[in-house]
Symmetry: C2
Subunit: 115 residues, 2 copies
C-alpha cells in the first residue's frame, strides 16, 4: 500500500509516517521512482508504534526494540533495553489503571446528571 492509504488506515498523518521511517521505526520498500510501498503488516506496526509513543516511549527506544525483534540473537545489551522498557510500561500501566479508577469514581459522582 502507498503512504496515503497507510495514513488513512492508521490515523497517522503522512508526515508522521515519514518521520517514523526517519527514526528507523519503519522500513518500507521503494518503487523504482522512489515511492514508498508498505506491506499490510505496517498497519499493525504503526498502531503499535503509536501506542508506545502514547505511553511515553521515545522513538529511539522503539527503534531499539525493533532491532531487538528482528535480530537472530539477542545481545545482553538488548536484553537490558527490553527489561528497562518493561519496567517503564509496568509503571505506565499501573498509573493508567489508577487514573482510570479515579476517573470512574468521579464519573459515578457527577456522571448521572444532565448534560
Amino acid at each position: 500500500m502507498r503512504i496515503g492509504e497507510l495514513a488513512e488506515a492508521t490515523g497517522a498523518t503522512v508526515r508522521a509516517l515519514r518521520y517514523y521511517e526517519e527514526q528507523g521505526l519503519l522500513r518500507p520498500e521503494r518503487t523504482a521512482s522512489g515511492q514508498r510501498i508498505y506491506t499490510p503488516d505496517a498497519v499493525d506496526q504503526v498502531l503499535w508504534i503509536r501506542s508506545l509513543l502514547g505511553n511515553g516511549f521515545s522513538s529511539k527506544a522503539i527503534a531499539q526494540l525493533r532491532r531487538c525483534a528482528s535480530a537472530d540473537e539477542v545481545t545482553p545489551e538488548q536484553r537490558a533495553v527490553v527489561r528497562a522498557e518493561h519496567a517503564r510500561i509496568e509503571a505506565a500501566y499501573r498509573a493508567a489503571a489508577a487514573t482510570k479508577d479515579r476517573f470512574a469514581s468521579v464519573l459515578a459522582f457527577i456522571g448521572d446528571g444532565p448534560d
Copy 2:
C-alpha cells in the same frame, strides 16, 4: 513542607513544582517572605499530576480537572471535560495493557537467558 522537601518526597524537581504552580495545578501557601509552604497532601497531588502527565494529559486539562474538583457545583462544561478525559484515560489504559502483555511475551521469550 518546603519546596525542596516536596521535591525529594515526590521525585519531581524543584523547577517542575514551580512549573505546576505556574500552570495552576498547585496552590501552595506563602510565608511572609514569599517562600512556598506545602501541606502534606501535596505529595499525593504531585504524584497524581505526574501520573496524569505521564498518561498524556496536558497541564491545561489537569488544571480543568482541578477546578472541577474544587467547585461546589459541576457545570455541564466541566462535565464534558471530565467525560472527554475519561475517554482518553480509557484509551491510554487499554493501550498500556496491550503493551504490557506484549512485553510480557517478549520477556517470556528472551528473559530466562543470562544477563
